[in-house]
């Protein structure tokens, strides 16, 4: 197990994958959060207030986003890494068989794809907590609805803190920036709903 972790650490270091993974994590997490927000507000406007329908719709949509994220990232990363290896081989006038560069490139594609695939699903499940509570009959729907919007904005704030730490800037400013995006999306969705309901 220790050897396995050591190997992974080495692959991460050699493939310089951490930076890319952070990017995919935030990007796809953002996708997940706003998708859930969109579906939930859309359902509310369309007068669909059955939590089980909302949960099933959002989770299946986020799984689809996850699969899309996984496959898109995997193929994109693989192509980029293969290109890099081809350039190296040409520069070095050699053909790589199985070496640490090949292995870490393979690892990097897989690792970033997993993060890109799992991130929207995780975020979706986190912000769907109020809906789960409603489906168990613990809280009324309206509280779950506004709670979900609140949790989404809070999750975006946490994601902003994470980005603030990555950029080594003020984490609160980053958090607020991200929350504002969530707030803007929410207001826009309500506005669209009002327009359609006219």
């Amino acid at each position: 197990m220790k050897d396995f972790l050591k190997k992974i650490k080495k692959y991460r270091e050699f493939s310089n994958v951490d930076e890319i993974v952070r990017r995919y994590f935030v990007m796809n997490g953002f996708d997940g959060i706003l998708t859930v927000l969109g579906i939930v507000i859309g359902s509310y406007i369309a007068n669909v207030k059955d939590p089980s329908i909302i949960i099933i719709t959002t989770i299946s949509t986020c799984v689809a986003i996850g699969i899309s994220g996984f496959s898109g990232t995997f193929m994109g990363e693989r192509a980029e890494r293969k290109r890099y290896i081809k350039i190296l081989e040409r520069k070095m006038l050699t053909k790589f068989n199985s070496n640490i560069i090949n292995e870490s490139a393979r690892f990097a594609s897989f690792y970033s794809a997993i993060i890109a695939g799992v991130s929207p699903i995780i975020f979706a499940i986190i912000i769907l907590i109020p809906m789960f509570l409603t489906s168990f009959g613990l809280i009324p729907y309206i509280i779950a609805f506004y709670g979900l919007i609140g949790i989404s904005i809070l999750t975006l704030f946490v994601l902003g803190i994470f980005l603030g730490r990555v950029s080594k800037e003020n984490i609160i400013v980053w958090g607020i920036k991200m929350s504002l995006i969530g707030l803007f999306a929410t207001l826009l969705l309500f506005f669209i709903g009002i327009v359609f309901n006219l």
Binding site: L88, M92, T94, N97, I100
Partner: protein, 92 residues
Amino acid sequence: MLRRIILDVLKPHIPTIMDVAKEISKLKFVEGVHIHTYNRETKVESVRIAIEGKKLDFKEINKVLEKMGVSVQSVDVVHAGKRIIKESPNSY
């Protein structure tokens, strides 16, 4: 019985020369490694690797280098026998 070899190799920037040195020194028969970069290009760099030991196994060394994505261009210096002969500047 190989005692000391100097290789001229071409390698990508990553793994670094520190990684390569550590990997070579893990070999049982290796007593010391010295790596010196003498040319850096955009994606690759040329380095000179000196390896010392009691009974160097070139095949094993080459295997490690291949595993690290390093390609041996030439074997520039070889020392073999019971003792390492000190090189004089006029020997080449």
